[in-house]
Symmetry: D2
Subunit: 357 residues, 4 copies
């Protein structure tokens, strides 16, 4: 019961890393909306593996096939189903993890949860590969949001201890969101980007991996959407973003830094500009009490370092019930945060289109 989310727009993901295919069913999209599949493909390409030396060598064309939901390129009210076939699959790399779980991977809890029947190949249903159909759904939602002048963009705020410039939370330029997204390495400050890339290369050459933070900004989202308490925009966005493998924290606006501030510093004064009620600072991140304020929505997601590293690690042999050492084979990103940038955008796009539908 973990693969469906959303209320008005319901997204159901399926597939395992090495199954016949992966895909998504999107129910509840507004009707009569054109889905430009070339634009969708460009979005998927941002996430796709095999592009550069910084990501896994697995190559997947990630070309979705549309089974239903579109008539003459427009949404028709029926669920939109897209399927991506798995092709470049090397399952033999994974056989050992059935009995020797990888540290910080879901192998062991999944083994208990699914009584050993879970698909271990490529991480099965836990694989980052499932974010491809999530991106498909996000790309569709984003096209519809864009027509309403709602823009969503994300960048790598940090890799290891190197930080990019933050988005300006008050007067973010929507064009910057597009511009940053279009970069092969999505940062605002390209010099910071070079130092980040170098951290990743360093980790990779050491057989290691490194973590990072993705910051996402939404402009043009109207005031007055969302609900208090358990169905607030923060709750829904956090629930969606924690669905991306490797996320360890989510924060909005000033986030954890708010805990170190005084009220007089943190409070965002209201004022009127061009007949709009706005705030002069944006520590609240565009959402108060679960409801949008009309200011840019700002959130950050912390990604752990890739769990699969080449260095030898300690684990247990479940078949013999004893400790053992483990060396992981296979092709892995040295930093999952990099390819997670469009995935965060996708999760946000789906959640926000759902909230205004």
């Amino acid at each position: 019961m973990s693969s469906t989310f959303g209320s008005n727009i319901k997204v159901t993901l399926f597939g395992q890393s090495h199954s016949e295919g992966i895909g998504v069913v999107i129910d509840g999209l507004p009707v009569g909306e054109t889905i430009d599949l070339d634009l969708v493909q460009l979005f998927l390409d941002r996430r796709a593996p095999g592009k550069s030396s910084l990501v896994t060598a697995r190559r997947e064309s990630d070309t979705p096939q549309i089974l239903s939901g579109l008539v003459d390129g427009k949404t028709c009210g029926a669920p939109l189903c897209a399927v991506i076939k798995n092709t470049d699959v090397r399952s033999r790399d994974y056989d050992q993890h059935l009995k020797i779980p990888r540290p910080s991977h879901a192998d062991y809890p999944a083994y208990v949860r699914y009584k050993g029947y879970n698909d271990i190949r490529g991480g099965g249903h836990f694989s980052g590969r499932l974010t491809a159909p999530l991106c498909f759904a996000g790309a569709c939602c984003m096209q519809i949001l864009n027509r309403k002048n709602i823009k969503i963009g994300a960048h790598l705020l940090s890799i290891g201890n190197v930080f990019d410039t933050k988005f300006d939370p008050v007067s973010t330029n929507p064009d910057l969101l597009d511009e940053v997204s279009a970069k092969p390495f999505p940062v605002i400050d390209d010099n910071a980007g070079k130092r980040m890339a170098s951290q990743i290369e360093q980790a990779m050459s050491a057989g290691d991996s490194v973590g990072g933070i993705v910051e996402c900004c939404v402009t043009g989202f109207p005031v007055g959407y969302g609900d208090p308490m358990f169905d607030g925009l923060e709750n829904r966005l956090a629930a969606a973003i924690f669905g991306i493998p490797g996320v360890r924290g989510v924060e909005f606006g000033a986030g954890f830094a708010a805990a170190g501030m005084l009220g007089s510093e943190h409070n965002d004064p209201w004022y009127i500009a061009s007949d709009q009620v706005v705030t002069s600072s944006n520590n609240h991140g565009g959402i108060i009490g679960g409801i949008s304020t009309g200011m840019p929505i700002i959130l950050r997601a912390a990604f752990k370092p890739t769990a699969s590293i080449a260095l030898e690690q300690q684990s247990v042999d479940l078949s013999q019930n004893k400790n053992c050492s483990l060396t992981i084979e296979g092709r892995h990103d040295p930093c999952i945060a990099v390819r997670a940038v469009p995935v965060v955008e996708a999760a946000v796009a789906i959640t926000l289109l759902d909230a205004i539908s």
Copy 2:
């Protein structure tokens, strides 16, 4: 549609700060469980206002009346409904906020969302007062969890820039959880606690407020519960905790710090101890891929400083469409994090009992 959450155990909150009463309906509790109402009251007292100089002067006995769901003190399968009457209500303090929204309060987005019909008195449905029935539900769930040797405890990890000792994430003593909870000011290191209290007093005397972080630990939670993707334990816990007013960030295990780590630092090696598969470090915080590992669950929630401060602030007069200044009257906590400690425990208790039911 924001006041109900949970799957197997469904919790529905109702009430506004100054309405006749507030309360909760809990559906799906396991049957035949004794609910000790004296213990519930002790838990509610930890959250209750009017106890010390560090919290609001509003005094509410917060004594719940049970309308249904218990027969001879035991759960009977029917929804448990508890009501708390609102008594010490001073609604006149709030009249002005109908037209002059308070900075960093939901007044303005709620005004748009509810077309001006929302209950402004005491913050209405957005009030921290709604956490009283949430604590009622949490206290019931915690009694049931305790019988399964699952213990939940939280403390103030920080107030402003003063930090308490963290919970030991590997070998947390369950008794420590009880001991810390029982303290009037719930910290591990009482000296840090004194410095925290002094930060709060300082802010209060300056007409200001201050933020803080609550850290929560769960011991004894069994391996193999939860689901991948959108129904993972992190997703559910985050969705519940963001339902507490004032939360700006939620993180698990190493949390945001994980983004600055190498895989070789962050990965938690598995080993076998007393026939159990455990980890020698706990950066993963007891949950991997949405599923519990059997290690202590560790999470942190960042609370913003109380939005209502005595200092004069800038806002807008919606009735005249012009900027104005605002001085907030009323009785307010100088630091919402303090009373949030049992509230976080309650949200965690409900979510975890739901997950194993």
Copy 3:
């Protein structure tokens, strides 16, 4: 998890027949809607016991107390909670059913389902008394629907083998719906009503009970609401109506009779009248493929005879694991269909307001 239903408008019922109180939480009502509590009371009075010789002698004033959700008589966006206290309670009548389940009552399956912890007094959570808060919710929804010129009315189509006239499915007069509802014995043809009443009296004087059918009609419901497949209006209405104790069947339009018809008889031709697309017959009952057609919605619910009868019956003694005979004490309606008329209207009102919200 059985006491909450609805999507946009979520209704949560609580209480047992003999608990301290029963009630309802309604979340998601449109804001700024006046709820006339006198009109609500009139609606509740239609369902209330103790009115005539044809219904149970239990007397309950059924006066709801509003705990939250209304400000100055208008919905404010926060959940509306109403509580009705249980007063005229005679629990001793029920003691024996803990071990000797009543035929065609839920005593035995509930005993297994709830491991003997269920509240047996007055039928507990299974009691028809829970339809009082359902009627409260329905009365609120109906006031809002009426302002949109959507009218809902029901009548007793049959008692035993005596039948009332059916509603005209094509050109139902909305005023007739009000007129029939206002009658103490809600039938179209009062002569049929007299014969029905006589059937009930006859059953009652024989220590027996009798079943009946309630027919409900909705006028003014606009075309184009609902969804295909599992979230169609029929699915939602049926799911709501089967929540009323004693319902054994639900049908729409021609209903079961449709199975005996030819397509050429059953099909309803479209034509244009006053610029509206309408049908010249209404065998479809206002809903096709889960979506409203704009024609009157027609449905029928079959109610079984009251299970509690005075005649001696056969049952088992669970404590001794042997067969025994049973004589039921207590105060029971001889025909639950009579008081079910407003309850069916209530379930329909909630479902339809939900569908257009």
Copy 4:
């Protein structure tokens, strides 16, 4: 939001009659269960078109391709996705219905609901063809139920005014369920079956269609599953069955006939047989108060006559806003009830496996 249903087992359908493909995602199946795809195919063949002269001439092999969820033929905890390609598609037959809606079809309400963007070809998402993936899901669930000795079978209780023998509601032989299902024309009394077939042929040769009732029986379903009020087994079963196109009524046990009975006739006495608590009659149909009693579950679904008939009918031309006549082309079943028999079994299987999972 209409294509997903279920709680513990969530079934999501997608596809339109003439889209690239149709299919289903099943999330939450118990792990380690073998799914025999040959048995699934046999089940699908019972529903498939093109078998005899009594059903549509459209020929579809209906061979599902499994994209995910099975490892070595066993469920692995990840969602099971199966896709069926649409092949024998003749979309030109449907062009006219974009502007001239077919009587008793969803064309017109769907046109309003989806603003004219709905897929009209073959009925789009409203097509009976969507019951193929529903049958796939049902066949999987049924295999799992069978391993628990729960058997589900259905037959044609009536076609037009010809009735088959009813299932014995008290001592149904589970083998009979299999035996009836295996028949090409699923009836208990083959003589009645012949008269039914002749009614269908008669209607077909007159360019007309005819309705029918499907009766379903479940043996071996254990006592104590389900919930009172809105999540009762009746509510869930009815919500699932009304998802099948053409259903106009659903009843349990004695059903509508219960409304004409006295309590003393309708009540089912409890007694003890072989240490089991059972009833000597089964007017309650195996469910009381939403909870299973352990007796056979008996339900009936009324199907309207096929809406698409060859006879000329009256309709409207939406493009010219005037009345017109209409002759429907295309290949249509003369009686949808026939192929609905396994579909009802499938809906019941999914719902019941969900209820005990």
